[in-house]
Amino acid sequence: MSQTATAQKIVLQKPNFEAQLLVVDDDLMVLEVLVDYLKSFGFTNITAVSESKKALKMIQDPNTHYDLILSDWEMPEVSGLVILQSVRKSDSKAQTRFIIVTSQQSMERFKISRAAHWHVNAYIVKPFRATVLKEKIWQVMNWSGLENEKKAK
């Protein structure tokens, strides 16, 4: 954790539990668990969407704002990559932190490189426990307070 911080020479910030989060996954079972995880961390502004098409519209809407987007990769109609691309292309949201949630199988080399090209901030491979997600989020948001956490895995 601290290693990343020093490498980027960024001072860790206090976590912002009011941050606007967007979660996209077509599997309702997964979506529910992700929301539960996020709630357990203390977040209060969570938007959960199971239709990626709808998520795309929300992102393209200039009146919305998100601090962090968690999105599945393989989804019908609009894939995680398309969502990532539209975030990076948007003027207002280009800096939004983006975590891709994926299953092992879809972590193919070319997909990783494509996602890297569009500056994905982190991957997380299903299945994972809450602490793993929390670590990732704290990492990409440059938040402090993880060192004191129990590092369970």
């Binding site: 079972m29 997964v30 668990v33 393989e74 092992q104 199988q105 299903k126 299945p127």
Partner: protein, 424 residues
């Protein structure tokens, strides 16, 4: 043997002899109690001369038996009585040096006659050819046939004494060649069967790996759900934990269901499966379920046009593989998005599955070609065996009909028609 057959045989002989001469079995057994005749066999058959024996044809002029430059020499072993002959044949067979042909005198003094001897030899070496040689009509052809049986009918011939040199040589050539050709054919067939099985398995693997992606994705989701529920319900009230347990069990059921379907798809073909009465509706549903993830990601709409309830006696796994394979093909035909229509109808003795896609169909001039093994339009992606194996499963394993046709409006229709109550 008809003249036509003889000609074919002769041509085949000249093709085959040089290629496999190192493995060529030229051993001939002679069982003959008259020493004079016995030695003349040796003279005729072991002579490595360039004298070309003539066929004594009943009509027309004599013709050279085979190409002039080809003379086969034989290794002849002579036995003077039945017991000696039997012992020699047995010893040779057990040493892996069986005789291709035997000349048997019918009258052999005491004990067995030539025909009874051959019957004994055929018990351990069913492949040996026998030519019976006799001075008298001691036994009628019918009685020989009766004694040796229907299945050996093409394994023997007979000659009357006195015989011409050419006749002996001709019989020796033809039968020895036949023995070797058949051996070769059997070996080739074995090889082909092995290769077919390998290809079949690899094709199945293609279907399995196509489905595996979806299964992996599903399992990731399911495990996340289980893990998350358990993780979140720790230190919670009894009520909340109970709720979480319910959700976890639900997820476990979903996983078990997927695993069952996946297992049935990947069942090895080596296990001879029995035909069983199964619901064809369920097979189609299973195939659709297995590909659910894939069709979702590829934006393929699944439609069931007709769904008659059908129970049939089939090999369930191969039929599932056929439906999965054809569905994957249909998806390949519609990159981006599309629709697959499934129809299951029952008509009299048969049921019919129609799988239709909304792709570009197959150009009429390729319609037959796509059913040939190794024909593929998918480059390295495909082995070119999918359709030919589907056809084989339907037509050979199930005595059904497998047809491709372009739909009058758009796309390809695959029609599978199979008898419902097939035995075996």
């Amino acid at each position: 043997m008809s003249n036509g057959a003889k000609k074919v045989l002769e041509q085949t002989i000249s093709n085959v002899v040089p290629a496999s001469s190192n493995k060529w079995n030229n051993r001939i057994l002679v069982v003959e109690d008259e020493p004079g005749i016995a030695s003349s066999y040796k003279d005729i058959l072991e002579a490595n001369s360039n004298v070309i024996p003539m066929i004594r044809s009943s009509r027309g002029s004599p013709q050279p038996l085979v190409a002039q430059h080809q003379v086969i020499s034989f290794k002849v072993t002579v036995c003077s009585n039945a017991l000696e002959g039997l012992t020699e044949a047995k010893k040779a067979f057990e040493q892996g040096q069986p005789y291709a042909l035997g000349f048997f005198d019918v009258k052999l003094g005491e004990g067995m006659d030539g025909i009874e001897l051959v019957k004994e030899i055929q018990k351990f070496d069913p492949e040996i050819y026998a030519v019976f040689v006799t001075a008298y009509n001691d036994r009628s052809i019918e009685s020989i046939h009766k004694l040796l049986g229907e299945d050996k009918a093409n394994r023997w011939d007979y000659l009357n004494k006195p015989f011409y040199e050419g006749e002996i040589y001709q019989k020796a050539r033809n039968f020895v060649s036949l023995w070797n050709l058949q051996k070769e054919a059997v070996e080739k067939n074995k090889h082909i069967t092995n290769l077919q099985k390998k290809l079949f398995d690899s094709e199945k693997l293609t279907a399995v790996s196509a489905v595996a992606r979806g299964v992996t994705h599903e399992f990731g989701n399911i495990l996340l759900s289980i893990m998350g529920r358990a993780d979140m319900s720790r230190n919670q009230s009894q009520d909340q934990m109970n709720q979480a347990m319910e959700k976890i069990l639900e997820a476990c059921n979903r996983a078990t269901d997927i695993l069952d379907k996946f297992k049935s798809l990947s069942e090895p073909s080596g296990v001879e499966s029995k035909k069983e009465m199964v619901s064809i509706n369920k097979i189609i549903d299973d195939a659709i379920d297995l590909l659910e993830h894939r069709s979702k990601v590829s934006n393929i709409k699944i439609c069931k046009i007709k769904n008659d309830s059908v129970m049939a006696n089939v090999h369930a796994t191969p039929i599932l593989q056929v439906v999965v394979n054809l569905s994957i093909n249909a998806m390949h035909a519609m990159p981006g998005s599309g629709q697959i229509d499934y129809s299951l109808t029952s008509s009299g003795e048969d049921f019919e599955i129609v799988i239709r896609d909304y792709g570009t169909g197959i150009p009429e001039n390729l319609m037959l070609k796509v059913l040939e093994p190794f024909f593929t339009t998918k480059g390295k992606q495909g082995t070119g065996l999918g359709l030919s194996i589907c056809k084989e499963i339907v037509e050979i394993e199930h005595e059904g009909k497998f047809t491709l046709r372009n739909h009058s409006v758009k796309g390809l229709e695959v029609v599978i028609s199979i008898p419902k109550n097939l035995k075996g």
